[in-house]
């Protein structure tokens, strides 16, 4: 299974300009090979969350975590793949469906996956799948012979199972005055 070779690191970071750049710069500088990196906001507007997947054969996730933790804007880091966790990858796959056979095939394949057809015409269809990374890979493999013409994936997001909550301290607020006043965190892209 692909999953076995992968380590997944989750980082909570301050939602400030340049933070993604700092993380990317760290990976480049330390020669850490990253399979996927996703970032997005959380339910707290001043906190963003990153999910980083690495190939354990090439780089030790604990080294990545230790180095990430050194960044001042990184609030917390956890190697979620050390314990039970849920991970999801989303893909949009455009396949050629210019005859009845291919349309039927696509429909049948999608029924066996957590996938659905979100757009279909006489030439192409777009299939959306949200699943564990290896299941997404399996769907892609099945669609390949039919003819994939375009594809996009979000990269993996992950969360530990159960009551182990990865969150910042309840009393944490951003230190800098103006950001507090504006409440304008959306304006910053990390």
């Amino acid at each position: 299974m692909i999953e076995n070779n992968k380590q997944t690191v989750v980082a909570l970071v301050e939602n400030k300009p340049g933070v993604l750049n700092r993380v990317a710069s760290l990976f480049r500088r330390r020669n850490f090979n990253v399979d996927s990196l996703t970032v997005g906001r959380t339910h707290k507007p001043y906190i963003s969350r990153m999910t980083i997947v690495v190939d354990a054969a090439r780089v030790d996730g604990r080294r990545i975590a230790a180095n990430l933790f050194k960044l001042v804007n990184v609030i917390d880091v956890k190697l979620v793949s050390e314990e039970p966790y849920v991970s999801r990858d989303l893909a949009l796959i455009k396949v050629r469906t210019d005859d009845a056979d291919s349309r039927n095939a696509v429909t049948l394949i999608c029924e066996r996956y957590p996938a659905r057809i979100v757009d279909i015409g006489t030439k192409v269809a777009i299939i959306e799948i949200t699943a564990q990374e290896d299941i997404v890979e399996a769907l892609i493999n099945e669609l390949e012979p039919i003819g994939i013409v375009e594809m996009v994936r979000t990269g993996v997001v992950a969360m530990g199972r159960g009551v182990r909550i990865l969150d910042v301290d309840a009393d944490y607020e951003p230190s800098i005055v103006s950001s507090q006043e504006n409440g304008n965190y959306q304006a910053y892209s990390v």
Binding site: N21, L26, V72, Y172, S175, V177, S178
Partner: protein, 567 residues
């Protein structure tokens, strides 16, 4: 109180206890320079090149343990700081660099003297800031000093657009704890780690301590000495760890590594326990990692968690402040004896002494090793020495034993030629009552010798020692050993250093014989100003021992004993 951004910078520096700033003015930092006129208690030192400002701030920081401050303008002023920032980063030296930036509206437009200095310095600073809002300025400067001096210290850069410097805002100094939720340097070891470490120490028959820069930075010299004496564990030092343990202490074996004492390297290879304290297993210390200390268990204490298991896999890794952790260890550390082991190390030391160049007949030649040894003798071994990078640096490390912390400053990690003179000037500002000697080679000196003018303009006294062999000596040594003596681009045409000094009004003396060295020290001490002494030394001296890059630590090239042939 309504203040301009530039005035806020000054107010904040005063509250951080800053006494001196090293800098160079320019268009985008002019408001800060203008504000200096209202704050005469902050001394500004005008350098001749911004690299010098960063090295001076670094030298000041290393000599005092306080944060050094460098100031530069935007664009080329900022980029000239880069080598100095990198030097401070690799050696964990706390400096804060303040740079001017073009106005906020002009950022991104390739304006005159605009450069993305926060982008450039991202990988070589501990953290950096571009100030977007004048109301954040005081918070940022406070954070910058806090980050620079705490945890594993390092350089922090604050880039301030010119219109932020000019803008007037209500200033109230932020009091209370600094809120940096993502910045939590480790401090103490937990009980399991301590128990595991103590168990390894109890079992060990051939233990050795590897003491690094962290001992000096956390002020753990007393703890180191107590640990070593109580458990009778010999101590070896990294280059930057020199001064962590008095080198005349019977348990101090000396410096380890590429040009370290052979006894240290043999002991590390044969040890059954390494206790690494505030050091990071640099490749210049370990040699070939595959054969490094193969039979030992390893304890590693370092404040930076990412250093644990980075180069050398260890049995007990403790991320914590080395002084705190050693204090914890000492509460439970039993007394031990390792007489046999210590005697074995002593044998290696005696063999090393026999091979010492000081036992060689000089035949009228003047060797760099002799110069350093005699400087040590005539300065009472108690000066603050600041070396540059190259053969003279290793000779200083070998032949000038230091007894006190923070008396030997050098660029270890980055190996920055040109560091010596400006760092010595900075160190002298930090320790005005100490005798500061800049020990440099003819190559490195010429990289930053423009700072001679700074020394004279600012009336600061450093004693400059140039070991002149008219070669880039260390590179030449590598060419001799590994490139069949093809001395490509290492012979140097040099100016007449005496006349050069005279041009600056600096008293100078040329030494060509060993019996002039004592006089040269008297000469240096007889002048109130900076002096320059040129020692014309043997051109093709070799620094022994040497572990070739990547070789096993015990496979050193050794100087033959007198009468022996070079193998």
């Amino acid at each position: 109180m309504l203040l301009t951004g530039a005035e806020i910078v000054m107010e904040c520096l005063i509250r951080e206890g800053v006494e001196v700033m090293f800098g160079y003015p320019g268009g985008a930092i002019l408001p800060v320079y203008d504000a200096m006129t209202k704050y005469p208690q902050l001394r500004h030192v005008l350098v001749r090149h911004e690299q010098g400002a960063a090295h001076m701030a670094d030298g000041y920081a290393r000599a005092t343990g306080k944060v050094g401050v460098a100031i530069a303008t935007s664009g080329p002023g900022a980029t000239n700081l880069v080598t100095g920032i990198g030097t401070a980063m690799l050696d964990s030296s706390p400096i804060v660099c303040i740079t001017g930036q073009v106005t906020r509206g002009a950022i991104g437009s390739d304006a005159f003297q605009e450069i993305d200095i926060t982008g450039i310095t991202l990988p070589i600073t501990k953290h950096n800031y571009l100030v977007n809002d004048t109301r954040e300025l005081a918070y940022i400067i406070r954070e910058a000093f806090h980050i620079a001096r705490t945890g594993r210290p390092g350089p922090v850069l604050v880039d301030i657009p010119k219109d932020v410097q000019n803008e007037k805002v209500e200033f109230e100094y932020p009091e209370g704890p600094i809120r940096l939720p993502g910045y939590r340097p480790p401090s103490a070891a937990d009980d399991d780690q301590l128990a595991a470490a103590l168990e390894l120490i109890k079992q060990a028959k051939k233990p050795i301590i590897l003491a690094g820069h962290g001992i000096l930075m956390s002020g753990a010299s007393n703890e180191l000495r107590e640990l070593s004496e109580r458990a009778q564990i010999p101590v070896t030092l990294t280059l930057l760890g020199k001064g962590a343990m008095p080198e005349n202490h019977p348990l101090c074996v000396g410096m380890m590594g590429m040009h370290g004492a052979a006894a240290c390297n043999y002991a590390i290879q044969e040890a059954d326990l390494l206790i690494a304290l505030g050091m990071r297993f640099d490749d210049r210390v370990t040699g070939n990692l595959k054969t490094y200390s193969p039979n030992s268990r390893k304890i590693h204490v370092d404040i930076d968690p990412s250093e644990i298991n980075k180069n050398v896999k260890v049995d007990v890794g403790i991320a914590g402040d080395v002084r705190t952790v050693m204090g914890q260890l000492l509460t439970k550390l039993p007394a031990k004896q390792h007489a046999e082991w210590i005697a074995r190390i002593r044998d290696w030391q005696e063999d090393g002494d026999e091979r010492d160049i000081l036992h060689y007949e000089s035949e009228g030649k003047l060797y760099g090793a002799q110069v350093i040894n005699d400087l040590w003798k005539y300065t009472g071994g108690d000066a603050v020495t600041v070396s540059d990078v190259g053969q003279h640096q290793m000779l200083e490390a070998q032949y000038y034993p230091h007894q006190r912390p923070a008396t030997m400053l050098t660029s270890g990690g980055l190996g920055t030629m040109g560091f010596g003179l400006p760092a010595a000037i900075g160190a002298k500002f930090g320790k005005p009552d100490e005798e500061v000697w800049a020990i440099v080679g003819d190559g490195g000196f010429q990289m930053t010798m423009a700072e001679l003018a700074t020394a004279m303009q600012e009336g600061v006294k450093v004693n400059i020692v140039i070991l002149n062999n008219a070669f880039l000596g260390m590179v030449r040594q590598w060419q001799e050993f590994f490139y069949e003596e093809r001395y490509q681009a290492t012979p140097m045409f040099n100016p007449d250093f005496i006349k050069l000094a005279e041009a600056y009004g600096i008293p100078a003396m040329r030494v060509t014989r060993r019996d002039q060295i004592e006089e040269s020290v008297r000469f240096a001490r007889s002048h109130e100003t900076t002096v320059l002494i040129e020692y014309v030394i043997e051109k093709e001296e070799i620094v022994y021992p040497m572990v070739p890059a990547g070789a096993d630590l015990h496979n050193m090239l050794r100087r033959p004993k007198p009468g022996e042939k070079q193998s």
